[in-house]
């Protein structure tokens, strides 16, 4: 190798224009690896700003491989895709005024496949928080925030009516404040389970199951406030913290061994975020609590149903619980469980997470169909449309979302949506005929 060949200087790297080693010409094209990438010609302010936010750091790590695109549920119904976020920010768009900021449901499927661990579960809330601070929040979402702030639930119902669902439970549901003694299980009922008509069905079924299992349980009643995890993911960190402080105050007031929750979002909040705010304890999703007890349940009828199961993003993919719900379903006499193509870690998002629950109108302008509608079609394709098919769920957001989607996709009467506790409760009743 001779040293008298011309040398080309590219940044700090020196490369020979022509190199021959042992008689073999190994010259490369000089600019391929060592020159500045064209992308640095774009303004860097937006990327610098995003990555300066607590949680925004990983956006810069994206190398545009695109693995996130086909697994993003929103990408299936529109132009949005996680990779585009990086591309937009690289081009100087800080996303504060971009509708894309609100389309991510924080389902986490992109993060699952990302070789660079770019994490929208942290990036989106970080940027959204800045939008919230500037008052740039879609109206529908503002309304839910306002309700959470004023009433402690996203519906805006009176907090004094939080335990009104008890009336139809047919079993006593003790309030921990009235019990005046420690309990084994403090049952955190959650927002939709407390207030939404279909959520209340699940609450009542759960109350009957806990009673049948002779569980020593109580609820907080009016002292319970929203877990507000979805508000946190939608960027309203302060609101999340405010409600967390109230819940933690209630948790500390009473003695209990473990907290059993209906809502995967509450599970995520209590397990992964409340410790940072000063409360730590055993938290179980109701499927995790019931699964080891299922053999003790006396089933009195067979349901004879073709059932498929929708993994909630914040129970399954983001908290790794796939088995407990399936163990429960398989134990119910007459349940024939079939998986949908998108299942477990690759479960398809219902569209309700990360604030999506309160952005329906906003999102509608940017997608061809709701994620819940796409999921219902998948369920119908899996369990058939003869009326014996069930889309089973383990998240209180789902009955209302999926039942609306059943109607809007023209599948009314062809498939039903049931919480797992409703199916257990159904099989515990004597046969109808």
């Amino acid at each position: 190798m001779s040293r008298d060949l011309p040398i080309i200087k590219v940044d700090q790297t020196f490369e020979l224009a022509q190199a021959v080693v042992d008689g073999v010409d190994i010259s490369g094209h000089w600019n391929r690896m060592f020159s500045d990438r064209s992308v640095t010609e774009y303004p860097t302010e937006a990327m610098d700003w995003v990555t300066s936010l607590d949680g925004g750091e990983s956006l810069r790590d994206c190398y545009q491989c695109g693995k996130c695109v086909p697994v993003c549920p929103v990408n299936h119904v529109g132009d949005y895709g996680p990779r585009k976020l990086n591309a937009k920010v690289l081009r100087g768009n800080n996303l504060l005024d971009d509708p894309d900021l609100w389309l991510c449901t924080t389902c986490g499927n992109c993060y699952r496949v990302c070789p660079k661990e770019v994490n929208p579960l942290r990036i989106m809330p970080a940027i959204r928080e800045q939008a919230v601070l500037e008052g740039k929040v879609p109206d529908e979402l503002s309304e839910a925030f306002r309700n959470l702030q004023k009433s402690g639930n996203p519906h805006g119902h009176s907090p004094r009516k939080r335990a009104d669902w008890i009336a139809g439970a047919d079993v006593p549901v003790p309030l921990i404040s009235e019990l005046g003694r420690p309990v084994d299980v403090l049952w955190y009922v959650s927002d939709y389970t407390s207030y939404h008509a279909r959520g209340q069905d699940a609450a009542r079924a759960m109350a009957r199951i806990l009673t049948a299992l002779e569980v020593d349980f109580a609820i907080l009643g009016n002292e319970e406030r929203s877990d507000a995890d979805s508000a946190r993911l939608a960027g309203e960190t302060g609101l999340f913290e405010m409600l967390a402080e109230k819940n933690i105050e209630s948790f500390r007031k009473y003695e209990f061994k473990r907290l059993v929750v209906m809502d995967p979002h509450a599970y995520n909040a209590f397990r992964n975020f409340y410790p940072k705010l000063g409360w730590e304890g055993e938290v179980l999703h109701y499927t995790q609590f019931l699964a080891p007890l299922i053999d003790r349940i006396e089933f009195r009828s067979r349901v004879e149903l073709d059932v498929t199961y929708h993994d909630p993003c914040y129970l399954g993919r983001n908290n790794d619980e796939f088995d407990a719900p399936r163990r429960l379903l398989e134990a119910i006499p007459g349940v024939r469980l079939t998986e949908m193509p998108h299942n477990k870690a690759n479960g398809y998002c219902c569209g309700g997470g990360g604030g999506g629950m309160w952005l329906d109108g906003f999102v509608a302008d940017h997608v061809s169909e709701r994620l819940s509608e796409r999921r219902v079609r998948e369920a119908v394709a899996t369990v058939g449309a003869d009326g014996t098919g069930v889309l089973s769920v383990a998240c209180p957001y789902e009955p209302s979302r999926f039942e609306d989607a059943v109607k809007s996709t023209g599948n009314d009467g062809r498939i039903v949506v049931r919480d797992i506790v409703e199916l257990i409760d159904q099989a515990m009743q004597p046969p109808a005929h």
Binding site: G135, K150, A167, N222, E236, L239
Partner: protein, 262 residues
């Protein structure tokens, strides 16, 4: 155009209300407090007027009452977009309207204003007198229960609506400066992000001014009680079919039309 908005906190009706040991007031120890709804309308109107081309500043005043959290109230005003917030005087409990008006008048001797807005009334006393009493002390024109606040282009007058029964609307014109008791705002009061309120609670400047001295209303609350539940109401429960049948039965019992539950 400089706007002044007077605000206060009232008990949060989301919580259970209890009467105190004296039987003359609410037990405030366990109450939580929220901004008075009508005061929020007044602030929203001031912000809308400022931002819709009239310019100027919005200054919010609240009495330094020990119950509740006046700092949070004022931080919320800043989070919504107010320019300046001032805590006036120091009170153990919310004073009567005469004392409140006197305190605000003292503070307003040091604050420039063209238009003073406050909620027409508040749920804790249903008195509605702070606006009129303040206007009297400052010798300003005053209109209560107003909507549709509009400024003339030369900023010398304000026009407002009062809505009467039977769909009749009156329009008033008042010379500025003036005091208005606001019934409602054109738009729902904007959301104040809790993240922003919490940030401002740590960083914002809340000015303090002296004000007050017992003006006194001469009124004394002798007793306060929770209304006794009457026994005449029948709560109808059950499924929709059962409820409909019961309603139909009641109507036919009383001979009101012919009702059949279907």
């Amino acid at each position: 155009m400089d706007y002044v908005v007077l605000l206060k906190q009232v008990p949060d009706l989301a919580e259970e209300l209890e009467i105190d040991a004296d039987g003359t007031g609410l037990d405030r120890e366990w109450l939580s407090f929220v901004a008075s709804e009508w005061d929020e309308y007044a602030l929203e109107e001031a912000l809308l007027l400022r931002d819709q081309g009239h310019g100027g500043t919005v200054t919010c005043l609240a009495l330094g009452v020990e119950t509740g959290d006046v700092d949070e109230l004022l931080a919320t005003c800043l989070a919504r977009g107010a320019d300046r917030v001032i805590k006036v005087g120091s009170f153990e409990a919310p004073p009567d309207s005469h004392t409140a008006a006197a305190a605000f008048a003292d503070a307003l001797a040091h604050v420039h204003y063209d238009l003073i807005l406050t909620g027409v009334q508040a749920i804790d006393d249903l008195d509605g007198q702070v606006g009129p009493l303040l206007a009297t002390r400052l010798d300003l024109p005053h209109v209560s229960v107003v909507t549709h606040i509009a400024l003339a282009h030369h900023h010398t007058t304000v026009t407002v609506h009062q809505e009467y029964a039977g769909g009749i609307v009156a329009e008033f014109e008042a010379t500025l400066p003036a005091v208005l008791g606001v019934q409602t705002s054109r738009e729902t009061p904007r959301y104040a992000p809790v993240s922003r309120i919490r940030q401002l609670m740590k960083t914002a400047t809340i000015e303090a001014m002296a004000g007050g001295g017992g003006a006194g209303s001469g009124l004394v609350i002798e007793a306060m009680a929770i209304p006794e539940t009457g026994s005449t109401a029948e709560m109808i429960s059950g499924n929709p079919q059962a409820i409909a049948e019961r309603i139909a039965a009641i109507l036919s019992e009383r001979g009101i039309g012919t009702a059949v539950a279907r």
